[in-house]
Amino acid sequence: MVGGAGPAVTAAAAITVQGVGKRYAPAGPGRDLWALRDVTFDVARGGALAVVGENGSGKSTLLDLLMGVTRASEGRLEVTGAVASLLELGAGFFVELSGRENAVQMGLLSGLTRAQARALATAAEEFAELGEFFERPVRTYSAGMVMRLGFAIAASLEAPVVLVDEVLAVGDGYFQRKCIDRLRQMRAAGATLVVASHDLHALKGLCDRALWLRQGRPVALGPAEDVIGRYEEHLRLKAAEGPGLAPGRRGTGEVAIRSVRLKGAEGRERTEFRSGETLRVEVDFEARRPLDSPVMGVAIFREDGVYCCGPNTRHDASLRGTYDGRYRLIAEFDELPLLGGGYEVSVSFYDKDHVYAYAWDHRLYPFRVVMEPPQHGLVSLRHRFHVSRIGDAGAA
């Protein structure tokens, strides 16, 4: 439930937010700005809430309020238990101190004893994998290294409530995965998570509920799959109006896409198809280590970025198992219902929970569809027309 009087707060809620708003006064003349308004939700102990929304939607303000680094202008907000957070790259770090010294500082500031703070630093050192940089001043770190240190410390604090803002994106693919796995473990161990991110796949795999914010107001609150699905749809519609995610090659590299061929039903490689023909996408890939049931997907985009369809193997039990070495994936689209125009194929391999991409070639394989006579719209749906007389006009 969003807005209004709010839900009945469960006894087991770790986070309770009721009618919360945050107003910022402008530095100069001008009207007050509500960065967040009418937000109501609760997160059960051990639950995980995804916060989604475009830039400037109020996600960071919400996390700031939960962490207690800013105060709500209206409403009520309660967080039970100690909070560990990763809100901003480098927040809380003293650049002249080393990674270890910063970890000890953070521990002391979180109320640990000196011995506990030193143990925290050792745990963070192990997780961050910064090598000898852990003993060097943070000013010599790259953004990715600062993120590694920040996450490692926040994760090692073992707080019952963990808040993560969009900082994971800075890390490399390997470390992003490591972070997501760690967040999952923390959740399994009973921690409550609130994660704001633009990595919607990761959020779906990590969180059970989601809150979608737009211009500081809640749009939807509910099961993560539903809310994030609706948000994705919103983004797709928006992308159809403007540029979407740029074509390119992404992924952690655990799968290598060796080749992608577009073929007709006769098995000949080509780039032009008639509407209604069969399109066969042949993907040769290599699993570079044994991978448990990766989710394989092939998507088709119109050349202006409109997402047409994107089936994947996530719910296909017959393709589950361990993959190691070279394989060929074939995706067949019978009776291609696309209208005339330019299209692009995306190919992706995700982990079994569809959270992070091992390999993702986004809109890299173009083809054309020809259609005579031309039709307008997005797809050609099989259809019939019937006309029958229903009596004289006005007789009924």
């Binding site: 700031d64 957070s85 480098g90 927040a91 500082q105 500031l109």
Partner: protein
Amino acid sequence: MRAPLSPAWARSVGPLVLADLRHRYAGSVLGGLWSALGPLVEVAAYAVVFGLVMRPRTTQDGLTYALFIASGILPWSSLREGLESSASTLPDNRWIRRSRVPMELLVARQVLVSAVRGACGLLLVLAAAFAAGEAAGATGLFWPLAGLILQTAAVFGLGLIVAPLATLYPDLRPALATGLTALTFASPIVYPESLLSGTVRAALEWNPFTHFLRLYRFPLAAPSGGPVAELAMAAATTMGLLAIGLAMRDRLWWAARDRL
């Protein structure tokens, strides 16, 4: 409301001060000497202009006068640096807005770094004076040391107000710098009180720094007995500034946080 001296941040401040002092001159050839060089040049300039060129109406010779100025300028520079760096510490560390690091830690670090430099400078000057036979015995050191500790606490209290206010009102930073320059000459730092008329001397009693100065210069003056009244005035000033700073810091800090 947080405890006034929450041990969580108080335990953190030591390593930060050390790192700051270490880092400040990292990679420079002269290193920490730079922190002494600036005030030394200033002292030398005053000594030459007022001690030799203008020959003040005092009986002091060049060396005595140089020691006299140095014993005032060094703690004053420390105060000035502590306040000015407090005023810029929040904008310089904008990340603090989204962290649990308390503002007190940043202010305390700046104030302590400048206090350590001021203390080192003053102790060197007093040691030089002692070596030159211009100062009383080591027991007299109690008064300047007590003064320095009180001054550091007072600047910390003031810094807790100045730091958020300078964020809320950016004009405060240049105003502070200008005001402190004016105060340099409104305090008996480069001139001895003996040169002043009775009215001006009475007015100086209202300048809190006058009392701190008398504590710093006690070993040079080598009188009998201790400046207990000066210590009491300095302590009262410190208590007042600390009380105001601790009372106002929360409200000011929450307002400043949203502006960062």
